[in-house]
């Protein structure tokens, strides 16, 4: 009986060059068996190159990558039997139906026991089994891609930007499928630039920027380490609170003329601010206290937003 390795993926000093371009610059990380590992980075950061090297699609310039204790450069044939991949911008044969597409990939793996109906159900595609691929919406295509990635009951599943380009509703449908993978204990390597996706699904997060890993840990650890503060939002206020808070040494940021955001280091500071406002007769109608999310961590570490639509106006 074989025992599962502690680490499903071990990347050591991985470097990838395209001519003069250094796409991946000496990165190292481990992915534990059974965990969901989110790989975050803006476009061009090197995340797709990294994941494609691990998936055996590309070859590294230097360094080593072991997947399920096998070297990706020499054991491609064995590795592909044990992994499932949803590539970025997944596409398939236009004229095949959903069922035929899953059957085709199952036949490629020689899997006679693939539960085609089970996969269709998991991907919530029961109503679409006889629809041709070309007629499916973006979200349905991605869900079919995930079902295909599972035809060989893989030990490691790679999902390269599974929700990019999807509307919020379709994205949530895909998340449901991903959550069921997590529940089933699969090792999942998730490449994304959606913070909420990583926070919802990931056990471990790695942030890559300009080919380098700049942060690695659980979402809580990363936030604790890099954005250990609270954001207080005071709603429906006039000019008085702004001056009161400023006099206390904080840096209030006006928002929408009616709200004020204040970054505080400790929960105690919130109580002090509220007391001061009450004393000044300028108590707000309502307030909101939030912990920063991974977006703020990313912004702090890289100085750039992950997506154009992700800026939240959070004070640094």
């Amino acid at each position: 009986m074989t025992t599962e390795p502690e680490h499903a993926i071990v990347v050591e000093h991985l470097t990838k060059r395209y001519g003069d371009l250094l796409a991946v610059n000496d990165i190292s990380f481990h992915v534990r068996t059974g965990e969901v590992f989110a790989f975050l980075g803006p476009n061009g950061a090197g995340k797709s190159t990294t994941v494609e090297i691990i998936e055996t699609i590309r070859t590294p310039t230097s360094g080593s990558v072991c997947l399920l204790d096998m070297d990706v450069t020499t054991r491609k044939h064995d590795i592909v039997q044990r992994i499932g991949v949803l590539p970025q911008g997944f596409s398939s044969f236009d004229k095949l139906t959903v069922r035929e597409t899953i059957q085709y990939y199952a036949r490629l793996f020689g899997s006679r026991t693939t539960d085609i109906d089970g996969l269709i159900e998991l991907a919530n595609l029961k109503d679409k089994v006889n629809e041709q691929f070309r007629t499916l919406s973006g979200g349905l295509k991605q869900r079919l891609g995930i079902a295909i990635a599972l035809v060989n009951d893989p030990e490691v599943v790679f999902l390269d930007e599974p929700t990019t380009g999807l509307d919020p509703r379709a994205r949530r449908e895909v998340w449901k499928v991903l959550l069921s993978l997590k529940k089933n204990g699969k090792t999942v390597f998730l490449t994304t630039h959606y913070m909420e996706e990583a926070e919802l699904l990931a056990d471990t997060v790695a942030i890559i920027s300009k080919g380098k890993i700049i942060a690695l840990g659980t979402p809580d650890e990363l936030i604790e380490r890099n954005a250990n503060y609270l954001v207080l939002t005071l709603k429906a206020v006039d000019g008085t609170p702004f001056e009161v808070i400023q006099k206390m040494g904080f840096e209030p940021v006006p928002e929408n003329h009616k709200h004020i955001k204040v970054r505080v280091e400790h929960a105690d500071d919130i109580r002090k601010i509220l007391n001061a406002l009450t004393d000044a007769g300028a108590a707000p109608l309502s307030l909101d206290v939030r912990r920063p999310n991974l977006e703020a961590v990313f912004l702090k570490l890289t100085g750039e937003a992950l997506r154009d639509d992700s800026l939240e106006g959070m004070p640094e």
Binding site: Y18, E52, E55, T56, I57, R58, T59, H77, V80, Q81, I83, V85, P87, Q88, G89, F90, S91, S92, F93, D94, K95, L96, E100, Y104, Y105, R107, L108, F109, G110, Q132, G145, I148, F158
Partner: protein
């Protein structure tokens, strides 16, 4: 190499083919349409038959006999014109490009010429100067007028020569290089087979490699057990099957509609296989060289269409100017055309072998190049 994987790929390709109307059209319907259209035209050229409008002003047994003689070889079908009407006006009204007028007095002149008495010729009464003049009312702008006049002149020459009672001095003997008599359609069908196989192989290879790569399907496949060898072999096998389907469709229509007299032998299969490898190889090279699928398709069309017309698929090379004939002889499709005609029409096995060897060498070179340029990983070359 995995038979299971190749089989799975083949099933997908055939399903896609059966659902892709445009591919079905160009693979099966288009060659059949060409066969039907050109076959009908050539059939008429091989056995030309014309309507001949005749105004018989004599209305005698002798003039009726002359008309029967004109119809004897089956090339002319007589359409009688009322003797009471104006023949020129009739030709204009009926758009008849030729009206033959047999004059009144035809029989009387014939009796004088032959010296007939009670239907029996008499040498003493024969008048060698007796003659008749028939009139052609014709439209010189019509393309078939001269053919009709030639046929009439030939028929009248035979009549005159028979009446002279002298045997012919020059006789012609015809010996065909071919063992059987073939029509133009028999030469045309192999060209259409070569064209159809080229189209399906070249377009198929471009679609399989360029379009699926651009869409990212090959990237996904490269993370499955299918290998580059499996992929190429299944594609070649698929293109061969499509070529066979297309060829069968062409042959069935050619045999049933035009009763072609072509021999189907092993050379047909050999040449189709070699052509699939040759044009499949070119397709793979184009798919790699072109940056986008659209450019690869455009490049394939750029190669295919001139080759169709220059390599003698549709009409004999002899009809083209000398420099175009020289160009034709550097085109691979020319050797497939000639090979198929040697195999199916003249049944010249030596010539078929020679052409097969030529296309075979070309096929090996481009296919090896194509295989080496078809990439399975994502790293830039």
């Amino acid at each position: 190499m995995s038979r299971r994987v190749i089989g799975a790929n083949l099933v997908v390709s055939l399903k896609t083919f059966s659902r892709e109307k445009s591919v079905m059209f160009f693979t099966i319907a288009f060659p059949i349409i060409l066969i039907l259209v050109f076959g009908t035209i050539f059939l008429k050229q091989d056995n030309p038959s014309f309507d001949l409008h005749v105004q018989d002003l004599d209305q005698t047994n002798s003039s009726a006999q002359l008309l029967k003689t004109l119809e004897l070889n089956g090339k002319l079908k007589i359409i009688p014109v009322d003797p009471a009407i104006d023949a020129t006006q009739y030709a204009k009204d009926q758009k008849a490009n030729l009206v033959l007028m047999i004059p009144k007095g035809y029989e009387k002149a014939l009796v004088r010429r032959l010296g007939l008495v009670g239907g029996i010729p008499s040498a003493a009464l024969r008048d060698p100067n007796a003659s008749v003049t028939v009139t052609y009312i014709y439209d010189a702008s019509s393309s078939t007028t001269s053919a009709k006049i030639q046929l009439l002149q030939s028929a009248f020459a035979v009549v005159n020569q028979t009446m002279s009672g002298q045997p012919r001095f020059i006789r012609a003997a015809e010996t065909s290089m071919l063992t059987r008599k073939f029509r133009f359609i028999d030469f045309f069908v192999p060209g259409i087979i070569a064209m159809a196989v080229m189209t399906s192989s070249l377009s198929g290879a471009v679609n399989m490699n360029a379009e699926l790569r651009q869409k990212g399907v090959i990237r996904k496949l490269s993370t499955t057990p299918i290998t580059r060898t499996d992929w190429i072999l299944s594609n070649i096998l698929y293109q061969f099957l499509i070529a066979v389907i297309s060829t069968l469709a062409i042959l069935v229509v050619s045999y049933t509609v035009f009763s072609v007299r072509l021999q189907v032998n092993a050379w047909l299969l050999v040449l189709i296989v070699l052509e699939v490898f040759a044009f499949g190889g070119i397709g793979m090279i184009l798919a790699r060289v072109a940056k986008e699928a659209e450019s690869a398709t455009a490049a394939a069309n750029f190669i295919m269409f001139p080759m169709m017309f220059l390599s003698g698929s549709f009409f004999p090379l002899e009809l083209m100017p000398g420099f175009l004939q020289t160009i034709a002889k550097i085109l691979p499709l020319y050797y497939v055309n000639e090979g198929l005609r040697a195999a199916m029409v003249s049944v010249d096995h030596t010539a078929a072998l020679r052409y097969a060897a030529m296309i075979g060498v070309f096929a090996i070179v481009v296919f090896v190049l194509g295989v080496n340029t078809t990439k399975w990983d994502e790293d830039p070359a």
